[in-house]
């Protein structure tokens, strides 16, 4: 009597019933594994530690302190309430002028005030997620394409393609030269598109890179600008991790390149995506920004921003916070210092056991090289290893294949979304896994020659496992499991 599934599917759109949302990717699978068994130092010490979420949780104390000392920044306190009506009523898609001014000011600060940003070119969006989709709608028609260097953030497949019909074409980058974006690779990708009759409308880069954590050097940035200018295609620069750069080489924004004298470029091709989700640690506030040097794009994007404006309550808070230059300078410096310390602790800890990561100077994660632990240099082996890491080592990390990495064995591991003690636990688990894996390799080798050795080694690894369990009973917790999120 009821409709069959195919009938139901016909009732809905292809977009709704297809897989374009990309949530079948292992990137999200790991999240689900964490959600069903989340680590807690006392309540669930054997749970999965979340290392797949690029969040910046190291500097909230600074922000909390600021919020407490500035009650007027909230429209709901006694100090700020007189503005409640005007703010709650304000739905102009230009955004509160003080918000745009503060964001422009902050973006300049983050870039060491080497460049300034025009508040009138700032367009709001529903996070960087909304910003990317919006730009795709503005710059490309269905079937047209953006070039994207690999590896790249998995959700771009959803953000840029799902509802827009735009395609993403990979630009090959390899580990032998640290995944540098080369002119040759760009040309190659472009030519492939031409041959396949796909019109390329732009190139999208994330700088600092997710998942690599590296920054683009000046020469590379210039060569990108030259390339897009020659081809007359757009360049979208996602600079969402701009303030997470904690050491040399430092961050160079595309905005700086445009100011260089010898750089010749049609500025109307350049667009920046930004957000406060990573630099400030505010993903819940949904503050996304599109900054375009192209007036027509600013106009169009502004109209489209109706679909994802920033809550004026939040605009007001952000405007207040980010115009406090003294606080901003202090925050940026301290946040970078803490990220540097955490990154160092993590990478040094890993290196002690012979686990290396790509050398990086920013981001909230490391790009870990585990190819030694692959049974064979294939993506199937990478998936098998990943499942061991999730289900046995109990760490949610993100496999390189979900980032479209062309080489198996790389994993993105986040380090800024937990406290020191949890990080120690995670490190210990990794160390133990690495050791066990080495031992297992030795055992396997020896087993070929002398079978009777195996029981001794098993008891050795058994002892190691109980030490493993002790370590996991760390009493300190990161942010306690949020009662706001009820695991189902």
């Amino acid at each position: 009597m009821g409709f069959t599934l195919s009938n139901q599917q016909q009732q809905l759109s292809k977009i709704a019933t297809g897989n374009g949302h990309g949530e079948n990717s292992p990137y999200f699978e790991g999240w689900k594994a964490f959600d069903s068994n989340p680590y807690h130092p006392t309540k669930n010490p054997h749970g999965v530690i979340q290392m797949g979420l690029a969040e910046n949780q190291l500097s909230f104390d600074l922000i909390q302190e600021w919020v407490l000392n500035h009650p007027e920044a909230s429209i709901c306190t006694a100090e700020g309430a007189k503005e409640f009506k005007d703010i709650a009523n304000f739905q102009d898609y230009h955004g509160l002028p003080e918000f745009r001014n503060a964001v422009a000011n902050f973006m300049g600060n983050v870039r060491g005030n080497r460049v300034t940003f025009d508040p009138d070119r700032i367009v709001m969006s529903g996070g960087a997620t909304g910003a990317h989709e919006m730009l795709a709608f503005c710059l490309a028609d269905p079937g047209e394409a953006f070039l994207m260097p690999v590896p790249y953030y998995p959700a771009f497949d959803r953000d840029l393609r799902w509802r827009t019909g735009v395609q993403l074409l990979p630009v090959a980058c390899e580990s032998f030269n640290n995944f540098k974006i080369t002119r040759a690779a760009l040309e190659d990708a472009y030519e492939k598109a031409q041959k396949a009759n796909i019109r390329v409308k732009g190139l999208l880069i994330t700088n600092p890179s997710n998942p690599l954590g590296t920054v683009l050097d000046r020469e590379t940035l210039k060569s990108l600008v030259t390339f897009i200018n020659e081809k007359n295609i757009h360049l979208v620069c996602d600079e969402i991790y701009a303030a997470t750069v904690f050491t040399q080489p430092s961050f160079i924004s595309i905005a700086e390149i445009l100011e260089e004298e010898e750089v010749e470029c049609n500025r109307e091709l350049i667009h920046i995506v930004y957000s406060l989700s990573k630099d400030m640690g505010f993903p819940g506030f949904r503050v996304g920004i599109v900054y375009s040097y192209n007036d027509a794009v600013v106009n169009c994007a502004r109209k489209m921003s109706s679909f994802g404006l920033v809550s004026t309550q939040t605009q007001r808070l952000i405007a207040s916070m980010l115009s406090d230059n003294e606080f901003v300078d202090r925050f940026i410096a301290e946040s970078a210092r803490r990220l540097k310390a955490r990154h160092a602790k993590f990478t040094v800890g890993l290196e002690e056991e012979g686990t290396t990561c790509l050398k990086s100077s920013g981001g909230l994660f490391v790009w870990m090289d585990l190819h030694k632990h692959l049974k064979e240099p294939t993506f199937e082996a990478e998936m098998a290893l990943w499942r061991i890491i999730i289900h046995e080592v109990k760490l949610n990390v993100s496999p390189g294949s979900s980032f479209h990495c062309p080489e198996p064995g790389w994993f993105r591991v986040c380090f800024a979304n937990m406290d020191d003690q949890t990080m120690e636990v995670a490190l210990e688990r990794i160390r133990n896994f690495v050791l066990q894996d080495k031992e297992a390799a030795v055992v396997a080798m020896k087993k070929k020659k002398r079978c009777w050795q195996s029981s001794k080694n098993l008891s050795l690894s058994f002892n190691r496992r109980s030490r493993f369990d002790e370590v996991m009973m760390s009493p300190h917790s990161p942010i306690p499991q949020s009662p706001l999120v009820r695991a189902t």
């Binding site: 409640f84 997620t129 007359n232 794009v297 994802g308 809550s311």
Partner: protein
Amino acid sequence: MCMLSRKATCNSHGQDSSYFLGWQEYEKNPFHEVRNTKGIIQMGLAENQLCFDILKSWIANNPDAAGFKRNGESIFAELALFQDYHGIPEFKKALTEFMSEIRGNKVSFDPNHLVLAAGATSANETLMFCLANHGEAFLLPTPYYPGFDRDLKWRTGVEIIPIHCTSSNGFQITETALQEAYLEAQKRNLRVKGVLVTNPSNPLGTTMTRNELNMLVSFVDEKGIHLVSDEIYSGTAFSTPSFVSVMEILKERKCDENGSQVWKRVHVVYSLSKDLGLPGFRVGAIYSNDDMVVAAATKMSSFGLVSSQTQYLLAAMLSDKKLTKNYISENHKRLRQRQKKLVSGLQKAGISCLKGNAGLFCWVDMRHLLRSNTFEAEMELWKKIVYEVRLNISPGSSCHCTEPGWFRVCFANMSEETLDLAMQRLKAFVTEYYNVPEVNGHGQNSRLNHSRRRSLTKWVFRLSFDDRSPIPGR
């Protein structure tokens, strides 16, 4: 110059419509009670500014909710990090309970079937992405909210086919009009995926009758298509007949029991922008009984989530049942009074309107003031009203009304004094322009014959060039 997308370069954003042009004129010369008394009074913006005092007083008495605190402890970090597209559970629970309360608790809503969106703008667009493919169509009764041209069509590629409603029966939807619209779509080779209605109606300011709702449900059931009911004004139904939600109709028809599956194809859109007067906070929602729609819409909500800061504040506010009860009834009372004031002011100017019982506006009949029964004449009159009378109201053509001469006039976004002034200006305009005697309170006015009206038109134009304003100063 590099090409942008077709979406970027076309007009489908709908902002060339007079609806938005009037806004722009207002922006250039906005009325202010003290600073710019000759400015344009904004009557084209459906905002609810009548009950902020109630919300402000609640906030003053509930500092925790406002200040990122729970039991005095800061939860700033938790909120700042919360980006789960399922939303804060307490917020969705409070919102669904509020929606129930507005409907007299005759229906209940399951928070698991509620999807948050960045305003009704985003909710409507998301539903289109879920329910229709590029090139497919939705039927909408006219007149309808001008923003739908952007929200439903622009980026989705969905088409709107109008269901023509006329003043002959108070603009109610008839079976004939529905069938005609459906046939029109077929003639144009467009696959109809559903019907979208706004109930209470924008711009009519009326609630849909039980008859209309039943007819719609039967229609979409028979055709196997969707019904989207935008109930954004559900909390503004201030007088009888009372508001009936399509969800009530489904319940009465026991739709979830008889296996027809139509209940899965009825979806409700909601928002706090009108009922609570909080358009700046961007709180919208989609409610659907179809799990696949909920799943898809939830994923799509990534493009426009509600700020966790706002979710938290409103969760606390809407969970306070004393507040919601008081707010709903006080809101009705104040809207009713204010609407009455507008209607009587219009009557004094010899202008009548559609009898309305909801919304933040009246659907005003100025057909008798048109030079001719054409949209050109409507535009002419509208321009006079914007530039000479200095009132920004919305012409019916911008709402796709099929009959010229109707205007949407908002009443809840200004003070009483400003409304009084607007009515005075209007009355003076009608009196001078049409050279009619003072009208009595029963709304009688005499019509001019065409030739006399034409010469008057020339006279008024000369007057405006002579810099003599018909509008009394303050």
